[in-house]
């Protein structure tokens, strides 16, 4: 049993979880922004969107560690949890882009 490999894998799992928790928050905050806009509370919607962006940036920052590791020749262990992190990150980004437009739509609908 190679403990160094195990430690590495465990570190990479933690990295995956940190990504998931941050982009997960980003996604939830984006949805909360949308719900706020639905109620006509556009100021709150903007606040939630800003908060969401912070979490998303942090998730991306952590994710780039993995990209750097791979680029420098260090092995990145493929795992389902890492795939999940990637998926959550990209869908959070997609949702965020759509929600921004939907908030504009609510502004028009609520008039």
């Amino acid at each position: 049993m190679n403990t160094e490999t195990d430690n590495n894998e465990m570190d990479q799992d933690i990295i995956a979880f940190k990504i998931i928790s941050n982009v997960g928050m980003a996604k939830s905050l984006t949805m909360e922004a949308l719900y706020a806009a639905k109620e006509g509370n556009y100021e709150l919607a903007q606040e939630k969107l800003s908060e969401s962006k912070q979490h998303f940036k942090l998730g991306h920052k952590i994710h780039s560690k993995l990209i750097q590791m791979e680029a420098s020749g260090e092995k990145v262990h493929p795992s389902i949890i890492l795939m999940h992190a990637e998926d959550q990150m990209m869908s959070a980004e997609t949702i965020s882009e759509l929600v921004k437009e939907m908030i504009e739509m609510y502004k028009k609908i609520n008039k």
Binding site: D13, I14, F17, K18, I20, S21, N22, V23, G24, M25, K27, S28, L29, M31, E32, Y35, I80, I81, H84, Q88
Partner: protein, 103 residues
């Protein structure tokens, strides 16, 4: 024995947390049934199981209001998992959070 249900997007990220929480519960000599499910399965699970507390992963935290409506009828407390504890997969802290909800 207390039953704690964790809800997340696919039930994936919460499963490691469940393992850690079970370990923490063992360490404290506490008897608890802890499991994780995807949000889509919540209603059907609640039909068949008595749950004492529901904890939400960050990705589904925004669903709290809708889920609260369903859960308040059964008097089941629900809260978003503390984001720092979740990111660090801190089983002990999340277990504490769950038990603080069960009063």
């Amino acid at each position: 024995m207390k039953t704690i249900m964790l809800v997340c997007a696919a039930g994936m990220s919460t499963s490691l947390l469940v393992t850690k929480m079970k370990k923490a519960a063992e360490g404290k000599g506490v008897d608890a049934d802890i499991f994780a499910i995807p949000a889509s399965e919540m209603s059907s699970v609640l039909e068949n199981k008595n749950v004492d507390a529901v904890l939400l992963g960050p990705q589904v935290m925004y669903m709290k209001k809708q889920l609260e409506a369903e859960l308040s009828i059964k008097n089941i407390p629900i809260e978003a998992i503390n984001v720092q504890d979740y990111g660090m997969m801190n089983g002990e802290k999340v277990l504490e959070q769950a038990f603080s909800l069960i009063k």
